[in-house]
Amino acid sequence: MKNTIAERILDFLKDYPPFNLIQKDTLLEIAKKVEIHYFEKDQIIFSQNDTPHEHFYIVNEGVIRLYRFAEGKKHIVDICDEGDLFGLRPLIMKENYLMGAAANEESIIYAIPIHLFNDIILNFPKVSQFLIASFATNTRDPFSEKHKGKLFANIKAIKKVENSFIETQSAKYTKNPITCSANITIQEAAIIMTKNVINSIVIANNNIPIGIITDKDIRTKIGTGLFKITDTVETIMASPVVTFPENITVAEAQIARLKHKVSHLCITKDGTNTSELVGILSEHDLNLIQGNNPLLLIKEIKQAKDAETLKYIRSKAAELTKGYIEQEIPIYFVTKVISEINTAITKSAIELSIQEIGTKPPVNYSWFAVGSQGRKEQLLMTDQDNALVFENVTESEYENVKAYFLKLATKVTEKLNIVGFDYCPANIMASNPKWCLSIDEWKQQFKEWIKDPIPEKILLSIIFYDFELIYGNKELYNKMATSVLKYIKKNQIFLSFLGKVTLDNPPPLGFFKQFLVEQDGENKDNFDIKSRAIRPLVDAARIFSLYHGLQINNTIARYKKLMEVEPQNKDLFESCSNAFKILLTFRTSQGLANNDSGKFVDINSLSKADRLKLKSCFNPIKNVQEALKIRFKTTQIG
């Protein structure tokens, strides 16, 4: 029978996450069971510590404020406007309301029965993913010691769904691969491979895989005369094989192949190399799925003869990034792959430049990336930030040595510029005599920065605390890193100054109707996601890492380590890490969509889902900045 009112409610819900992820007929069933509540200004919907209702809420009209009483004071935790969900987490967690909700103005809210929604969470993985994303960034509750650490305890049910979602993207492998026994000759194996038109054959004993030979083995081991075609396959096979269970995902397969540097993965019943072989996953299989393949790209980079070729490969890497983001491949994996590609490009640019100069570098050196490339967080084309360190040389040699490296660096930066990495506007590049220094000069430079931390110098030097070896002598790089951490340890006050500078980026408040994001009014319609949201998280991770003397550059890796080092702040660091992942994904997809660096986001163009996503990241920013303030006593200095 026609139900005009339910249809009207459906019409509202369908525009807002997570309801926009639910198919229409299912959503209509929910709409038919909605309760509509009207609240006048300041009327309470639920109070802190109340037992959970049977419904959760979505604001249809008006504004709802969420608040907490702590230490005798009332704190506004969040403001919800049209389309915002609230009061859901306690229902899923089966715990009392952590905060109260009241109408900030006259409001109409829709109450949705949780019992209907439980099925939805199970049946619509995207819904649970959305909920995880919005819960994950809110795990920390700065006012409650009691709830610390247990907020994630009951979320397993949802997590399980998330996993099964990734499983739906499992890699397609070749089933029932052809095998042979270990004692047949290489010739016999080659005949089987030729007959079946396959480029690899698994050597198995009772269908338990023990080794593998590929076309490449025939070429490199037989063709070169190292082995005879009458030798047994056993003598040339790669063993043991890299094995995975049947539900291997595309992402896992990529990682495994990067890690083990193999072209084929064996799929076995239980995933170990002692169980039965059920399939084989080759580079080719993955290429079919992926279109582009990072390993392939890196291979091409190594073979590139000029900067133009590198540029072409880098553009393919951009497509790869886009594909990954669309497929919702975890961002840490995406950054890893893209960083590897960028590193390979830089390496190749250095090698090509050395060839052009025609003489080998006179002494040991290392090329390092600083800033976002140093942190391995560069997903889009951004500026190049790099530097170079060379071994200490005698005064008489110095001039020539430095001249060589400056020449090299100039050539490298030119090539990178052709590839698409713009010159650094602040000239933080190895081609700048200031950033092409001997190890002693670098140590002196860091000492100066750390001992005399005036704000202008800090702002300039901050980028150098994220430095990662790209090419060259590892020892030089390690020496430099160790001495920097040593200086900081001796001069802890430096961290206070570093903290103070980073706190000059206050967290955004949120986007709601009349509340404006940028308080300064400049760039009113544009949200500077890089400076306002990503940078504060990057900065905080850096300061805490330097404080603990961690030699890690990647922000996600830093937070992960910090969770171990400071278990009492695990929730805080976890929420920061989650927020960072969301923001980085967001920036990347925005950048790809608009073909720019993704630094600015036009708020008006955002969907409600994206606005919610962004908003959920603001709390961790605020919390970690508070923690910085307290830990490093930033208020006590200048």
């Binding site: 029978m1 026609k2 139900n3 005009t4 009112i5 339910a6 009207r8 409610i9 019409d11 709409a31 038919k32 069971k33 909605v34 309760e35 509509i36 509540h37 009207y38 006048e40 006259e106 109409i108 109450a111």
Partner: protein, 220 residues
């Protein structure tokens, strides 16, 4: 004797309906089941014109319960092409339609002893009663509230006629599905909640105040 005899011959659904009035009513705004309803008709003449559709939704304890709603379309021989453009119901539309008798029976089953709310309630109640008369049944026994009259109880409201469109504007209610029975019932439900809330801010509102037709402020 005649009355008793007639009573005997009521159809079962009417007997069930009467039974619900034997239960003591709560006489509190919070506990009462209100049903906000609206009819779309072929015209404004309660004798000649016919009901084309009925839409209704329940309010209990200040909550509009979508699960407790009612929507039905009626087959009528009477048809007035002039009003089609208002309510959009065609004589031979593709919506499932019921005979007047069946539709009224379903509506009565749904109503039970609820307190009725409608904008210009007198008209809609009269339309239902006219249909009941055609079925040889007595009039509705439910109490009813007119949101138009309720509105006039607010401070500073004078004048006589307040149409739904004007009140939607004043109370900031989106006019979705206006001129469909369900759409108007829903709008009226929101209007009712908003008026009550405003009234409560001005003074204590008693259950009995809701039914006063004069602008009597009750026991202040």
């Amino acid at each position: 004797m005649w009355n008793w005899f007639k009573h005997k011959n009521y159809p079962d659904f009417w007997k069930e309906y009467l039974k619900t009035f034997k239960i003591k009513q709560p006489k509190s705004i919070e506990k009462t089941r209100f049903i906000v309803f609206d009819t779309e008709t072929t015209g404004l003449d309660t004798v000649k014109d016919r009901i084309l559709s009925i839409g209704a939704i329940a309010i209990t304890n200040g909550i509009i319960d979508v699960a407790d709603n009612f929507e039905i379309y009626l087959k009528q021989d009477e048809f007035n092409t002039d009003t089609v453009e208002i309510h959009g119901i065609l004589k031979e539309g593709n919506i499932e339609k019921f005979s007047e008798e069946k539709a009224i029976e379903y509506f009565i089953n749904y109503l039970q002893n609820a307190v009725l709310i409608a904008h210009h309630a007198a008209f809609d109640v009269k339309m239902i009663n006219a249909a009941l008369t055609r079925m040889n049944l007595p009039k509705l026994k439910n109490k009813s509230i007119d949101t138009g009259i309720l509105y006039k109880k607010l401070d500073g409201k004078t004048g006589n006629h307040f149409n739904l469109d004007a009140l939607c504007k004043e109370f900031n209610i989106p006019k979705h599905d206006r001129h469909t029975a369900s759409g108007d019932a829903f709008i009226t439900a929101l209007l009712f909640l908003k008026i009550i809330s405003k009234l409560k801010k001005e003074r204590t509102v008693y259950y009995s105040d809701l039914f006063r037709t004069t602008n009597n402020k009750g026991l202040i």
